[in-house]
């Protein structure tokens, strides 16, 4: 029996879709059978992040309404034979599917695969309720910013109210130098405020933009630091104990020279 994990955040733009794509792809790279499901109806994006936008025939609304079989709606990934994407519908609105339908799809999927990773839309309306309907556990993504942490707190409360207690946190876009200077909340600060278990920390990394440009999840890039952070997260999801990576940025000679001139 597979496990259904929802990736959520409350606030938009904190890296939910990127996180879902990288976790799903990372699990597939570990030999797991995985379905990535986009529930952000009307604003689908998991397809482009995964580089699968040209392969879409059916979407989640088609599956929910029985216009196609579940297997037909699962798009095969280019890289891994046992990684699939169920895209959101782009032309419908967020009420085009309901919680019962999503729950039924999740139940059917968990018979077939090891992990179902559900990408949740921003907000706390119907789309959120749909996304969490079939989930066994939840991952909350946030950034070290006041607005994102506030929304994460609200989402944690709503998850608990809906039977998804003990969600885990992914802290995305951490800039170690700013933390060091006291201008960005640290992992410890945020854990203290949210009182939640940490799944992983992703450093702010230009490679995320580059890999999204190409439609290649950064988790497959052995050189990138964010990729390493996602690989660690994947292992933790699979039950391994992996220590947090050292986030300190390696500074090149030029960077240090610039700093010398700037005086800090």
């Amino acid at each position: 029996m597979g496990e259904v994990i929802v990736v959520t955040s409350g606030k938009g733009g904190v890296g939910k879709t990127t996180t879902a794509a990288n976790i799903g792809t990372g699990l597939a790279a570990q030999g797991k059978k995985v379905v990535l499901m986009d529930t952000d109806i009307g604003l689908r994006n998991l397809d482009v992040v995964m580089g699968l936008e040209n392969r879409i025939v059916y979407d989640i609304v088609d599956i929910a309404n029985g216009n196609c079989k579940l297997k037909q709606g699962m798009i095969k990934d280019k890289r891994f034979p046992e990684l699939y994407l169920i895209p959101a519908a782009q032309t419908k609105d967020k009420n085009a599917v309901n919680e019962e339908q999503v729950r039924a799809i999740c139940e059917e999927l968990r018979q077939e695969v090891d992990y179902v990773i559900v990408d949740c839309p921003a907000g706390i309306e119907q789309g959120f309720k749909n996304a969490i309907a079939g989930a066994d556990r939840a991952i909350v993504v946030t950034n070290p910013e006041v607005s994102a942490v506030r929304d994460a707190d609200r989402i944690i409360g709503m998850l608990e109210a809906n039977g998804l207690g003990n969600p885990v946190l992914v802290l995305n876009r951490v800039r170690p130098n700013m933390v060091k200077q006291g201008d960005m909340m640290s992992v410890e600060d945020i854990l203290e405020i949210l009182a939640i278990k940490l799944l992983g920390v992703i450093p702010d990394d230009d490679n995320i933009v580059i890999s999204t440009n190409r439609g290649e999840p950064t988790v497959l890039d052995q050189q990138s630091r964010s990729g390493q952070a996602y690989r660690n997260i994947v292992k933790r999801i699979m039950g391994e104990e992996v220590p947090l990576m050292n986030l300190d940025e390696q500074e090149g000679f030029f960077t240090r020279l610039m700093k010398l001139f700037k005086g800090n």
Binding site: E145, V146, V149, R150, D153, V179, D183, M184, I193
Partner: protein, 89 residues
């Protein structure tokens, strides 16, 4: 650089501490789901109850949520003018 100068001259505290303090306060309200309107209603009700026993300036009664030693507290400050002689009768 600006931050460095601030620290050098003992100026403002780290911006992350400001963020943390603001977040803590805003989350107290969010979690208690007490809107400013509800806080005002609570204040009015308190005025009504307490004025049965004490003389005080209604406008000076101050109600707010606060956090201390990891405990959420409802702070009510009431400058008392007079304890009513016949209270409790």
């Amino acid at each position: 650089m600006a931050g460095f100068l601030d620290k050098l001259f003992g100026g403002s505290k780290n911006s992350k501490d400001v963020a943390k303090d603001r977040l803590k306060l805003v989350l107290i309200h969010d979690r208690a789901s007490l809107s400013p309107t509800m806080m005002e209603n609570l204040r009015k009700d308190l005025v009504q109850v307490i004025s049965k026993y004490l003389d005080f300036d209604e406008n000076a009664l101050d109600v707010q949520m606060a956090e201390q030693d990891n405990m959420t507290m409802l702070e009510v400050n009431i400058p008392v003018a007079n304890v009513k002689r016949n209270s409790g009768m």
